[in-house]
């Protein structure tokens, strides 16, 4: 089983510091998102081929990620380069972790499992982006977007009060409210849970601090709504389409 075609956001760029890793899911499959010490982000299958341990539990050393269990180290191409128990071994090239195309745009880390020839361009970068938060909920993407429509944010920068939500890429939505432009990256974690990555398309001079807090407060209100107001089921949506 492979992912839905196209690019999928897996984390806010700022959530993965250089030299760190974190686990995540797409369509129920496990991925590790990690950033090497030179700052390049990587998305791999979250599984050490040795004993199946999650690589997201491991640690980053320079441009290698090492498994927590036995310290097997993998280079940025996913190839095992060092096995501590056999320090003199020239590690066979067959020991590899599946790696996936990874880009950073819109303040988020994106991946796709599409093969290079069919791969669409990732979403265009809007320029300066201020990360807010990732909101998690036990809900499908369509119902998540319904909740955004039902409870749009109050503008931080005043302007046309009519909020607008538009899809600008498979998993990327633009939400305008007043003078604000938010970018919403939708990540389907599994059948029952989704993540919404929330970024302000705007400058630090305008939004750093108070502007981020303003949008964060909206995400908390949205979370409260999701926890308290029953959503239409995804099946209902499918019938409606």
């Amino acid at each position: 089983m492979s992912l839905a075609p196209g690019w999928h956001p897996v984390a806010l760029s700022g959530s993965i510091d250089p030299g760190t890793s974190a686990g995540t899911h797409l369509d129920g499959r496990e991925y590790v998102v990690w950033r090497d010490n030179s700052g390049v982000a990587h998305v791999w299958e979250d599984r050490c081929p040795h004993r199946g341990m999650k690589l997201s539990f491991g640690f980053v050393r320079g441009d290698h990620i090492a498994c927590l269990y036995h310290g097997w180290q993998y280079d940025t191409a996913g190839r095992c380069r060092y096995i501590p128990a056999h320090p003199d071994l020239d590690v066979p090239a067959t020991i590899t972790v599946p790696v996936f195309a990874t880009v950073e745009t819109c303040g988020m880390i994106w991946t796709t499992t599409d093969a290079a020839p069919n791969r669409a361009a990732p979403p265009a970068d809007p320029g300066e982006a201020m990360a807010v938060t990732t909101l998690y909920a036990d809900i499908g993407p369509l119902a998540f977007l319904d909740a955004v429509r039902a409870l749009p944010p109050q503008p931080f920068i005043p302007g046309d009060p009519e909020p607008q939500l538009s899809q600008i890429d498979g998993a990327l939505w633009r939400l305008t409210a007043g003078g604000d432009v938010l970018l919403l990256g939708m990540q389907r974690l599994n059948d029952v849970r989704s993540a919404l990555h929330v970024v302000i398309a705007g400058s630090a001079s305008t939004y750093a601090g108070a502007g981020q807090s303003h949008v964060f407060a909206w995400t908390r209100a949205l979370r409260h709504r999701l926890a308290t107001v029953p959503a239409k089921s995804e099946a209902t949506h499918a019938e409606a389409v």
């Binding site: 984390a11 959530s15 974190a22 686990g23 899911h25 997201s56 539990f57 998690y136 601090g209 108070a210």
Partner: protein, 209 residues
Amino acid sequence: MALVLYNYDLDENCYKVRLALSMLKLEHETIAVNAFPGREQETPPFLALNPMGTLPILKDGEQTLFGAEAVLAHLARTHDPAGTWLPVEGEAFAAVMQWLFFASGDLSAAGRARANALFGPPGDETALRAAARRAIMAMEDVMVANGFRAREWFADERHTIADVALFPAFALSRDFGVDHDEFPALRKWARRFRAIPGFLTMPGIPDYH
């Protein structure tokens, strides 16, 4: 004034005190207590020190204290001449108190969830995990908000005993089935915490050698 810690290595409340003793660079004696499977802390010699039969217990000269948060406050107040681990001025004092009580109150669900998962005392596993997750989510919310004003710690501009009291529940959360995936602000905070001089690990918290 000799410090004596009655300790069980796998107990996260004892770990709070071990962290504080190490970070404050305090010489002390450690007495190992057979908490599991022996429940030695519930026997009369220990009940004489702490009638509730829990760990940790700290002796400081003539004084005997139980409860990790009280021990942290005592160590910071009496053994940190700079006063940064327990600030007494301004908003920081009450903020430290808030997080100490949170650690021993709402967040104690994490300790009970972990004890239930590892050592098997009775408990509603699902309810404990949900309560622990809710408390950890509250911590994440606060650290996200703190990030917007460039504050890296829970109670003050620098680290305090509040951070010491909060760290074990998050760092050990995988023991009771709460992953770190959805808590990026706490991951970053935990990474900063690990860099504090004197930081120690415990079983369940990897030492990235």
